[in-house]
Homo-oligomer: 301 residues x 3
């Protein structure tokens, strides 16, 4: 054995030894865990079910729409059930997982009805949108909302872990983090979206518009695991607009319907309905540069 | 047919039925729509054309640079034309699409000349940069700017939808959202970049530096589709620096040349040239903790 | 030759000509540059080494854990060494690269010991976490920290370019930008995370919690390359919590242990230990809408 082979062998032993510490990260039984890649494939196939005319797939042909759809749904059913069976606690996890998957699939028409309203809201709300196809193909807000609406149904059915893997996949693509536990009404519009965080117990009404960097969060997370299951995030009523980087915190905070929350506002108390909240005009300091080199004629101070 | 097969069959029928509602999302003719995956492949190949020495490609060999380049350009030409043909309105869409693709390809040297200045600006501006190769390989700002500069040429040529799919691809990778309609001068530097949003009608001069979380946006989007085509986003003149999380809004807002805009400033009015704008020092409340456990000696209050 | 072929030929010549300008972007020798795709494959394999039970791999079987691990480590060793050899300056770059790779691999147990503390901190700190597996599978913070901890070891060993490519890969997935040069103690928790930027010379103690949009940055980057190697970013001592969108700047700024920094605070000076810093309650303007249409009964003003 050469010197280098020997040294690699030593590294292997070192790491194997390290796997024997019994910590959470030392788990070795891969088969007991869900498969993140499969879950992401499932969510991508579900997006195709939602928007059947906007995705090309090398595997499926379109000679017979029904046949294609059957193949796709059997595929989702098979893979989703297997992943659910790994994460639920039940006497017969496989039977239970199949029942949950079927119930989930039956809800797809309801999810599609919601997504159609979200698409309409995005098109109506953005002067830069040249058409609805552009929104479907390129708007990260609609992407994140679609994945959230699908994941939320699994969350409501009590499936652990998988809904969050789905919404975190959308988060990684869009920078928009909607916890699958949040409740969101129809005609939901997210513009730009990067940096948005919407917590687990948030409740959002209909026809709400949210811009990039908005946080709908908890007031403090010092309580850690003790706060689990408690209402920690705000309620946003119908027809509210929340501009970029506003922060709204707390489980008792209610933003009344029709409110407009200005950019960068920081809110931890309820706001009555039909109110515009803006930062009192921020005091800015304006200082001309003394020895400006690029526009010497403008300032001589 | 087993019970489960029967139930799946029912789900298939349920969803097929749902596709017959005639809504936007019920479109089934995949062939009439552009193919997002192909458009992303095209933009990745265009990035290789911009930086020929920084991408390895399993498909192309480098024995003969000219031969390789020909194969690559024919590939881009073929795929881009086909996608353009699907989205333009023209009597002979395929002929028109070919002409547009050719015109676009002819502009690549101009795009490259701009990108070289952006690379220089990134290297000069960031003390953490160890070399220009590091910037090309790892800086999200240069990635987003390169994709924007390519997409912008298609936008200027009047191609709908495809430029936005390209810049939203870059947005998903980098968190930097530059609308292809924006106009940006040379030596443009974006640092970190996550959360930046630059609207469709923004005009940016030369030698401008922008940090993460900056919004160059519209004052209000209440007008929705009625505002389409109108100037809604600010003008940033030459040699301006805009620090993290500043927000500059409105189509009549002009930031004069040489200005420095401080972190988190919120600006909706024009600023004369050579001016430093900072938040009047934010009032902070500092409260020592009464019963601090970790440094008991420091505070006894 | 048809008209179109002729025109494509002209474009090829135009671009080839453009490659002869001798600028940085005109480099054509692909083989002298590292391969970003390979580096990303390496970091993904390293993540598998860190969490052996949470990744399925089609290539490796698990009949014999030691055999699998050997194959994986030889693979990482081979690919990482080849990439390092391209970026280091040494008399015998290949020998040096092998020695660096081996030294790096030997540090994996230390990295894993740190990551286990980060996992614990994420679970303890987030009431939405249903278990540690959920954190490993779906939390972007743990993803970014794991990649950072691995890349940091290569940075400390003096490997250029590659560590930054690794952390920028994590940045693109998570929106969290941790420079590999930063120093971070154990039990580090990042929640949500999108928009976080942590600069090259930042020093972070143990048990620190950071939320989305936080910048630990330089006061000014006007100095550009002249500032290279100088301390430009803050020190965060043990047990500090920094809430969303706070900005802490400057190489002489020290946030003392036990401090709590409130949302959106902007700090450029040191804060003594055990202090809570919050924005003096932001002045908000609240205006009921005069002619509200949606709740006509509520306001008549």
């Amino acid at each position: 054995m050469s010197a280098i082979e020997n040294q690699i062998e030593n590294v292997v032993d070192l790491i194997l030894e390290d796997y024997r510490c019994g910590r959470d990260i030392d788990l070795m039984e891969i088969s007991s865990q869900p498969d993140k890649d499969i879950i992401i494939e499932v969510i991508e196939k579900l997006r195709r079910l939602v928007f059947p005319g906007y995705f090309r797939d090398k595997t499926y042909r379109i000679y017979n729409a029904k046949h294609n759809l059957s193949v796709m749904i059997e595929d989702v059913m098979f893979n989703l059930s297997r992943q659910i069976a790994k994460v639920i606690k039940a006497e017969e996890p496989e039977e239970k997982a199949k029942a949950l998957s079927l119930e989930f699939l039956r809800r797809i028409p309801q999810v599609r009805a919601m997504v159609q309203t979200d698409l309409q809201a995005a098109y109506d709300g953005d002067p830069a949108a040249t058409g609805k196809a552009e929104v479907i193909f390129s708007y990260p807000g609609l992407f994140a909302i679609t994945v959230y609406r699908l994941a939320h149904e699994l969350y409501v059915l009590g499936v652990p872990m998988i809904p969050r893997i789905m919404t975190e996949y959308a988060h990684s693509i869009t920078g928009i983090d909607i916890h699958p536990g949040a409740t969101v009404g129809k005609y939901f519009f997210i513009d730009h979206g990067t940096g948005i965080g919407i917590g687990e117990t948030t409740v959002i009404g209909e026809n709400v518009k949210i811009y990039q960097g908005v946080t709908l969060g908890g007031l403090s997370t010092r309580g850690g695991q003790d706060l689990r299951g408690k209402r920690r995030h705000p309620t946003i009523e119908d027809n509210v607009t929340i501009y970029a980087n506003a922060t709204i915190l707390g489980g008792e905070t209610v933003i009344g319907r029709g409110c407009v929350i200005g950019s960068s506002a920081f809110i931890t108390k309820s706001v009555p309905c039909c109110t515009t909240v803006t930062l009192k005009s921020q005091e800015l300091q304006m200082k001309p540069h003394g020895n400006c080199q690029i526009c010497p004629d403008t300032f001589e101070a």
